[in-house]
Symmetry: C2
């Protein structure tokens, strides 16, 4: 589903009408989080996400405990993308008549579990009875040092990296759709893919490790697909990213699963949303040192996929050494 | 509409499972805002409210420009209730297919207008296309000094005050319901009541003035009706409030309108929601000085309605000098 005109119009009106900076505001709309607070004192980051029934989740296959975890995880991922420390959570929940007490109890247990795992506190919220289930989550995080990592710092010569594997969540979503109605997932093959979709792990610890290296020039999380999210980095930084198909990290089973699902594996890796991994650039002068840390496993689970160059957009070199612009061809929640 | 069991259950689960204080957290769930930040540095307050179509507003009579204003106003009112300075706003909007571009443009103009009036900045949000219109707003404010005004500071002997007039918004809501479908409000009698409902004014400036006096022991905004909201103060403070029917400030026209609507005027004043005025207590030792400031119009638009005593609950002395407990008999959004 593409973003409808009204939504785009509202987003564009908002973007055009608000300042990116202000008194006590280091970064406004246009990054994973906004950053506020007085210079010289602790600075805070804040982000909010709204998850709507049948848009962002499907209760027929999403266990409420895992959904509770995911509602928080997608917000923690925004803090991870800035290298911050998540601290406080606010939850507004619109429930509907058909939600049972067991369902909401299980959902809240999932929320509590992941909040505790990340040492956060639930500090506020609102509840409403409406017609459509809707969870609106706000997360507050703390900056490590004065400067969080923004999207707009990538420069020519920097290396492009991603964490984890790409396309697993999108493959999991397709599996859930295919199996709709027969979802006893415990015995299923491809369970890791289904879990990647139902219970994504926000890369909070990795984000902090990366922030502390001082080597990262730009970062964001992969929520709408690598093509779209790396597209945000290059657009905000005024540069081009050139990445190679052969370097994209995917699960060894993704090929098998893409055959089973009859979907293109490259589509899953480039355009699949909700991996909640990180895409980031490492400063040119720090590349050797960073790659050494990766080789020595001091920094785990990251893969170099390309380089920042002059120009604009995201360019993919395919296996036949042909180049194509793949910017903003990503996934929208559907 | 009373709060359904599932909502109560979720609220009670949440209340029971979260701490009221924590590292960098001075106040968690259970007041108008939560208060966070490091001692000795600027402290922040945060609150969130969710407004759902046909629960909190009715698009058939709520002009979108005024609704945009109200979505922000009800959040600013939470900051006012702590004596804080509102600074930053995040908006998540779930729109539905039936929302026109004109409607959402007008709504957003209302949002921009009230944000500008209060010197705030819009710093984040999310947009979704769903089936039910839902606005989730988060507001961040700054504490004046180290200590915001909480609900739990009222002590025996303190005076009980309210700002503005009571029941006007509830009367306006009843008028809107009665006139549904014939709402050319410009020429209507009782327009101030309709405006009180459609375009409430959060008492941000008064909240700050009161906070700066150092005389206020407890405060909260009147969103669910005086009986309920004063009930929160006495419950959190472990005291009783005794208020007098003859002292309740109501518009001189409220009697006329309550006849026209065939509703009880005392019900409107005690149980009518959404006035977004302030109810607060003044420390016993500061009462003379405070009442002198009120008499000299240094502090305007406030009325003493009673006194804090030992015991529990909110007790009303009626015109026949009979006493009755009216705690928690307030309005729920309907």
């Amino acid at each position: 589903m593409s973003i409808p005109v009204k939504e785009l119009q509202l987003i564009s009106k908002i973007r055009g009408s608000v300042p990116g900076k202000g008194k006590d505001l280091d970064r406004g709309i246009g990054d994973d989080c906004s950053v506020f607070g007085r210079r010289g004192e602790g600075r805070w980051m804040v982000s909010t996400d709204m998850l709507v029934d049948n848009v962002h989740f499907n209760r027929s296959w999403h266990d409420p405990h895992l959904l509770g975890r995911k509602c928080i995880a997608v917000n923690l991922s925004d803090i991870a993308a800035m290298g911050g420390v998540p601290r406080f959570i606010l939850i507004s929940a619109c429930l509907s008549e058909e939600i049972t007490e067991n369902w909401i109890s299980s959902w809240y247990e999932g929320v509590q579990e992941i909040i505790a795992e990340h040492g956060c506190l639930l500090i506020g919220g609102d509840t409403v009875l409406g017609k459509e289930v809707n969870f609106s989550i706000t997360v507050l995080g703390e900056c490590i040092g004065e400067n969080p990592i923004y999207r707009n710092g990538a420069q020519v010569g920097d290396g492009v990296f991603v964490s984890g594997e790409l396309g697993s969540s999108a493959a999991g979503l397709e599996l859930c759709r295919k199996l709709d109605g027969s979802m006893n997932i415990a015995g299923l093959p491809y369970l890791p893919f289904i879990n990647a979709h139902l219970d994504p792990i926000p890369q909070v610890e990795l984000g902090q490790i990366l922030a502390k290296t001082g080597m990262v020039s730009a970062m964001q999380d992969i929520s709408d697909g690598l093509a779209t999210d790396l597209g945000h980095i290059v657009k905000e930084s005024g540069v081009q990213a050139r990445i190679s198909e052969t370097l994209l990290p995917v699960s060894t089973k993704l090929s098998e699963i893409s055959n089973y699902l009859d979907v293109n594996i490259l589509d899953l890796a480039l355009r699949g949303g909700e991996d909640y991994q990180l895409v980031f650039t490492i400063k040119k002068e720090a590349l050797d040192s960073f790659e050494c840390s990766v080789d020595n496993l001091e920094i785990q689970n990251v893969t170099r996929i390309g380089t920042i160059t002059g120009g604009s957009g995201v360019v993919l070199e395919d296996k036949e050494e042909q180049f194509s612009d793949i910017s903003f061809s990503g996934y929208e929640h559907s």
